[in-house]
């Protein structure tokens, strides 16, 4: 005997830690020789070693080449070798292992063995390796073994049958009556096995197992095996939705278990089934039952065992939708779980908290959640412990912020009573979040700013803080920067600039050095906001027009004209275009003001008492209509005015002669197409002339209004064209 034993091999691997792989390779070489040996002992040991190496060395060795030798060892007469062979088979055989075809008779023989341990080994092996063919061939043998004299065999047969059903569904029909009988087996382990199997079967198709309810109910009332009771109660949880009468019948025994059991696992499963099985919706005294469940769950949360806390929170989350009042009675302890060091528990508690929020507790809960984002050192400088590492995890922080925003914004902000407070929260989040959530915050700020008129003034005020924040600008390139909120800040400042205390100052912040580091979409809003605020401010000067005002206007306009140039070198086309447009507008205005100044010096002071008309013309472009939130379905609610025929021509189609050139094209689109959409405009658009028509119209409209001064009119037209391109990007 020179072969290594299994112990030798394991010891060898442990002593050859440095060149483990080489050692194993050498051993595998030996094993290859040994499995071919004529000595069954050597062969069995070789298979045992091979199983060890392949299932535990994590090196991805494949042992399928040895499958035939595994079968040889399985068929050994010695129990020890047989067991080794079966173990190797369970660890290595796949559904497509070809030697499985050879095992049918071997299995038949082993299942019929007089030794119950051999039968047990064969049954356990079969549970792993069963294929549709094996299932078909062995089905009858197994069904007859349900009456085996030893419970040890019977319980194993029951479980193997389930694996057979999966591969060969016909077997279920053949064996179900016998299986059902086994629910009354004298041995509790056998009954337990049957319950396990039915539980698995009912999971897929509960309806078919309703007929077993009386027997299962009997077991529920008499058994003391907690594992089985858990399974039965889970099973009933799946059956009650199909048969409401069952729920009523189950209530007394389940209530009894809830009140009396000391096994937390059983208690939990009872409560869980009461909740998920719909037993709380029965009327009668179901409210007291719900209260009892919730009170029991409270003891879970109070327990020091973290596992109980975790499942307790899970169950509370399930009862929350139907009994929010009952759950929020225990708000204190749930909120305590938010601060638990265990992140799994904290997340589950957060789930609950999100569901518990209402108008009254919203501020309080948000405050607690915000506390998680703040560095803990502030709270107590004497305590010298580091915060739990999870608090610093970006994913966790992002989750908290998501939840805060969800809590506050759900149901159209129904939980918010004070919007100024919410805006302040959003701004605070900008600073404490520690993760990149700027886009989300910006979206919220804008949403609230636009929708809530009463909070606008405050909103504009607090946005100035963001815009003027040098740090935000400085760090905008960092991965956790929330500089994206400046998008909202600039937009709100621009749109609601009438609330600005000092518009010029705001404009200066918008063009301060460093803003070109911001992301392009933020820059685009910045450029636009500069023009909007300028338009508002310049117009406000008109009311107190004097020389000082004029000088200030000239000075600021000149400055802006220069400054907005920095945006024009942006690589983003949108920003670039906007920058060129507004620079052009500023230089037109500036030129206008200078011209006037020169006129004045030359003594033609006919216009000195009046502000230039162009300044009064700017604001209506931006502020003529107030921006109002409109529900997506609002348009549908507007009734069509009486007498309006949407299908009638607005303009009669152009006469044939004028339309010659486009006739062919029109035909290719199909005549009906043009007609349904109606209007000559549409036809011209489809010929690609839309832009010209549009512009000509603008010009005409401009003329119609009529102006005295020729200069002014030319200027006006220039502005219109420019503005037109700003608005329509042409």
């Amino acid at each position: 005997m020179f072969e290594k034993t299994l112990t030798d091999l394991i010891r060898g691997i442990r002593t050859n830690k440095k060149n483990e792989q080489k050692y194993i390779a050498a051993c595998l070489q030996e094993i290859r020789q040994e499995v071919r040996s004529n000595d069954p002992d050597v062969k069995a040991v070789a298979i045992s070693k091979l199983t060890y190496v392949c299932s535990l060395q994590m090196l991805g060795y494949d042992m399928s080449w040895a499958s035939f030798h595994v079968v040889e060892v399985m068929s050994s007469a010695k129990f020890l070798q047989k067991r080794t062979g079966y173990l190797a088979a369970t660890q290595s055989f796949r559904q497509d292992t070809d030697v499985l075809m050879l095992t049918t008779n071997l299995l038949k023989k082993d299942l019929a063995s007089g030794n119950h341990l051999e039968v047990g080994v064969a049954l356990n092996g079969l549970a792993h390796i069963v294929t549709p063919d094996l299932a078909r061939d062995l089905c009858q043998d197994l069904v007859s073994m349900l009456n085996h004299s030893r419970p040890y065999v019977r319980k194993k047969v029951v479980l193997v049958l389930y694996k057979l059903f999966l591969k060969f569904p016909e077997a279920l029909r053949l064996s179900f009556p016998r299986l059902k009988e086994k629910l009354e087996d004298p041995d509790p382990s056998v009954v337990c096995a049957v319950v396990n199997v039915i539980c698995e079967l009912a999971r897929k198709n509960p309806k078919n197992y309703l007929s077993l309810a009386p027997q299962l109910f009997h077991i529920l009332n008499t058994s003391s095996n907690n594992w089985m009771l858990i399974k039965i109660i889970k099973l009933f949880g799946a059956l009650t939705p199909l048969e409401p009468r069952l729920a009523k019948k189950l209530l007394p025994p389940i209530t009894q278990h809830i009140q009396q059991t000391h096994a937390m696992s059983l208690l939990y499963e009872c409560i869980h089934t009461v909740i998920t099985g719909g037993m709380l919706n029965l009327g009668g005294n179901s409210d007291s039952l719900a209260a009892m469940c919730v009170n029991k769950l409270r003891t879970f949360l109070e327990d020091t065992d973290q596992n109980l806390k975790y499942v307790g929170l899970l169950a509370l989350a399930k009862i929350l939708p139907t009994h929010p009042r009952l759950v929020s009675e225990h708000r204190d302890i749930i909120l305590r779980c938010i601060d638990d060091p265990d992140i799994s528990i904290r997340l589950r508690a957060l789930d609950l908290v999100v569901g518990m929020v209402n108008k009254r507790n919203c501020t309080d809960i948000v405050k607690r959640l915000m506390a998680h984002l703040l560095p803990s050192s502030n709270s107590d400088p004497t305590a010298n412990y580091s915060p739990p590492s999870t608090l610093l995890e970006p994913a966790y922080r992002a989750d908290i912020i998501n939840r805060i925003i969800y809590i506050c914004s759900q149901n159209s902000y129904s939980n918010i009573t004070n919007f100024e407070w919410y805006i302040a929260v959003l701004v605070d989040l900008t600073y404490v979040s520690g993760v990149k959530v700027g886009e989300m915050l910006a979206q919220q700020i804008m949403d609230v700013g636009v929708r809530v008129k009463s909070a606008r003034q405050y909103c504009v005020k607090i946005m100035q803080r963001l815009i003027s924040d040098k740090n935000l600008l400085e760090n905008c390139k960092l991965s956790d920067s929330n500089a994206e909120v400046l998008y909202a800040a600039a937009w709100i400042s621009g749109e609601y600039c009438s609330f600005l205390e000092n518009p010029v100052e705001t404009i200066e912040f918008l063009i301060q050095p460093g803003v070109t580091k911001l992301s392009h979409n933020v820059q685009a809003v910045y450029v636009h906001a500069v023009l909007k605020i300028y338009a508002y401010w310049a117009n406000s000067l008109v009311y107190n027009w004097d020389d000082d005002a004029k000088q200030e206007l000239i000075q600021i306009t000149a400055k802006l004209k220069d400054k907005v140039g920095m945006f024009s070198s942006c690589t983003d086309l949108e920003v670039q275009e906007r920058a060129y447009n507004i620079r052009e507008i500023f230089s037109i205005i500036h030129q206008d003001l200078i011209n006037e100044e020169n006129n004045l010096k030359e003594g033609n002071d006919y216009s000195s008492q009046k502000a230039p008309a162009i300044i009064a013309e700017l604001p209506p472009l931006f502020f003529f209509y107030e921006l109002n939130p409109v529900a997506p379905k609002a348009q549908k609610k507007v009734p069509i005015p009486e007498g309006l025929d949407l299908d009638a021509w607005i303009n009669e189609p152009l006469p044939e002669s004028e339309n010659n050139e486009s006739e062919e094209e029109e035909e290719s689109y199909g005549y009906g197409y043009g007609q349904t959409f109606g209007g000559s405009g549409d036809l011209i658009f489809s010929n690609g002339n839309g832009a010209t028509v549009g512009r000509r119209r603008v010009r005409k409209n401009g003329r119609k209004n009529g102006y005295e001064s020729e200069d002014n009119e030319e200027l006006r037209e220039k502005v219109y064209v420019t503005i037109y391109s700003v608005l329509f990007g042409n």
Partner: protein, 204 residues
């Protein structure tokens, strides 16, 4: 159903791997590594449920584990199983090992991986729970051990308990490791055992 039973040590070295569903070897190894990386980060004071691993196969899969001394016992199960029930089941399995090996330690699992499989087979068969009564489990195991001896000794695999193995190893280091492992694991077992009595009662 139970999808797999894994035992690995504090360094992620697998001691027992049992998959009740057919998974190819590469995925098995990736799975073990993934679970180890998740589990090893968790201190012993947190709960024993893992959630949110993509690889584990979706929402209805849960990882339930217990940590004893140097070993993690990990059960991957679907939502047909009770979370607390499985925790108790792990305890039943560990206690059974402790009885079969007389103060079980990691070395027992290393040198008797086959026997551990046979004990596991008395607890779980093809992913279904077979027996939760420790006495029954230990009885079945010792019965087959007797038969094993009768059917001709293979001195190679035989060897009773860690003591014998440690002596075989001959190295002092191994000896000390064994004894410390023994005492710690035993301590944990008995410590959790009392806890177990309180929270469960499969065998009451």
């Amino acid at each position: 159903m139970i999808k797999s039973v894994l035992i690995f040590n504090n360094h992620g070295k697998p001691r027992i791997t049992k998959f009740y569903q057919q998974i190819d070897i590469g995925t098995q190894q990736a799975l073990i590594q993934e679970i180890f990386s998740l589990v090893s980060k968790r201190p012993d004071t947190v709960c024993n449920f893992l959630e949110g691993s993509q690889m584990l196969g979706g929402k209805d899969t849960r990882v339930i584990y217990r940590h004893y001394a140097t070993l993690y016992f990990v059960f991957v199960v679907d939502d047909c199983e009770s979370e607390l029930g499985i925790l108790d089941l792990i305890q039943v399995f560990v206690e059974s090992l402790d009885k079969c090996f007389e103060n079980v330690c990691e070395l027992d699992l290393i040198f008797h991986f086959d026997e551990v499989h046979h004990i596991l087979a008395e607890v779980i068969s093809g992913g279904m729970v077979l027996e939760t009564n420790i006495t029954e489990i230990v009885h079945a195991f010792s019965e087959s051990n007797k038969l094993k001896k009768r059917s001709g000794t293979m001195a190679t695999i035989a060897g009773s308990g860690a003591g014998a193995v440690a002596r075989d190893l001959g190295a002092n280091l191994a000896n000390t490791v064994t004894t410390t492992l023994q005492s710690t694991l035993q301590n944990t077992v008995s410590a959790t055992f009392s806890n177990f009595r309180r929270t469960t009662g499969f065998n009451s």
